[in-house]
Amino acid sequence: MEAALTWYQNSAVASAVGNSPTITAVLSAFHALGFTFVMGGALFANLGKLGALFPSRPVEEMAGPGSRLIALGLVLSLPTGVLLVGPKAITAAHNSTFQLKLLLILAASAVQFGLLRRGTRAVGALGLTLWIGLALAACAFILLE
């Protein structure tokens, strides 16, 4: 693991990102856009599941589009996040807030794409909690970075 992180941090891609403020800025811009889509999708799908947004509408009308917006957000934010973390991959991997962020991405995605459609309201509550936790962890990572 350590060897892989060292290889990645010393790779040409990570160096290019680390040495170019413009590349970092563009990546960060699309990372933030992805974050916005993930948050928007998570709120819509999970508040919908909880019956808090449109109680008279079928849950599928919110869960489906909400999950698709989350997927689009992840498609934007995950690759950009991997590239952004390159120049500081070793430090980030040992950072507990960053580890929590990764864990929350996995857990929230598993609940969202694996359980939400079939699950009960409790799954909606769990999904919402995990996505909000992820947003807070992302903010904490900025705070403590």
Binding site: P21, T24, A25, V26, S28, A29, F30, H31, A32, L33, F35, T36, F37, V38, M39, G40, G41, A42, L43, F44, L47, L53, F54, R57, E61, M62, P65, L69, A135, L136, A138, C139, A140, I142, L143
Partner: protein, 163 residues
């Protein structure tokens, strides 16, 4: 004149709080990002309803009524924290091209919302339940999504080119 106002803003106690305290700036940025997720992440669903892409069986007025509280909380968080950040770095922001793009697009989004509210929405009763709203409403949805996407992108570009 504007530059002098920016310089004065940077001399206030609020600017000092943002720039000098250890956690002041990152905390305000965190609130700004959460506000962004809540506001833009919610307004997009109303825009998609105007485009006839989601909740097509629900009246447009109901979609707005249900989303508005979350949207408003998000916009208050985003604009209040954004104003505080601006006070701290007003001169740098004033000279930053991405800040100008961001501000112009926020104004465009505001004008778009006002035009929708005062003109398009006046005839809402006639098309409230339509699954695909009229062209003017769809145009408002497209302009809103495009504006906010550019605001997000320019906002992040700004923070990397300002300091």
């Amino acid at each position: 004149m504007l530059l002098q106002i920016c310089e004065w803003l940077e001399s206030t106690w609020l600017a000092e709080l943002v720039t000098q305290s250890l956690y002041g700036f990152p905390i305000v940025v965190a609130v700004h990002l959460l506000g962004l997720g809540l506001s833009v992440g919610t307004v997009i669903w109303f825009d998609l309803r105007l485009l006839g892409k989601v909740l097509t069986a629900a009246p447009v007025s109901e979609v707005y009524r249900r989303l508005a509280p979350v949207m408003m909380i998000g916009f208050v968080m985003m604009f209040a924290s954004g104003a505080v950040i601006f006070v701290g770095y007003a001169t740098a922001a004033y000279n930053n091209p991405y800040f100008r793009i961001k501000l112009a697009l926020i104004v465009l989004a505001g004008v778009n919302a006002a035009v929708f509210h005062f003109f398009t929405q006046r005839r809402l009763a006639g098309w409230d339940a339509w699954s695909a709203p009229p062209a003017a409403a769809r145009a408002a949805g497209v302009i809103s999504i495009a504006s906010w996407v550019i605001v997000v992108l320019a906002g992040r570009m700004m923070s990397y080119t300002m300091f």
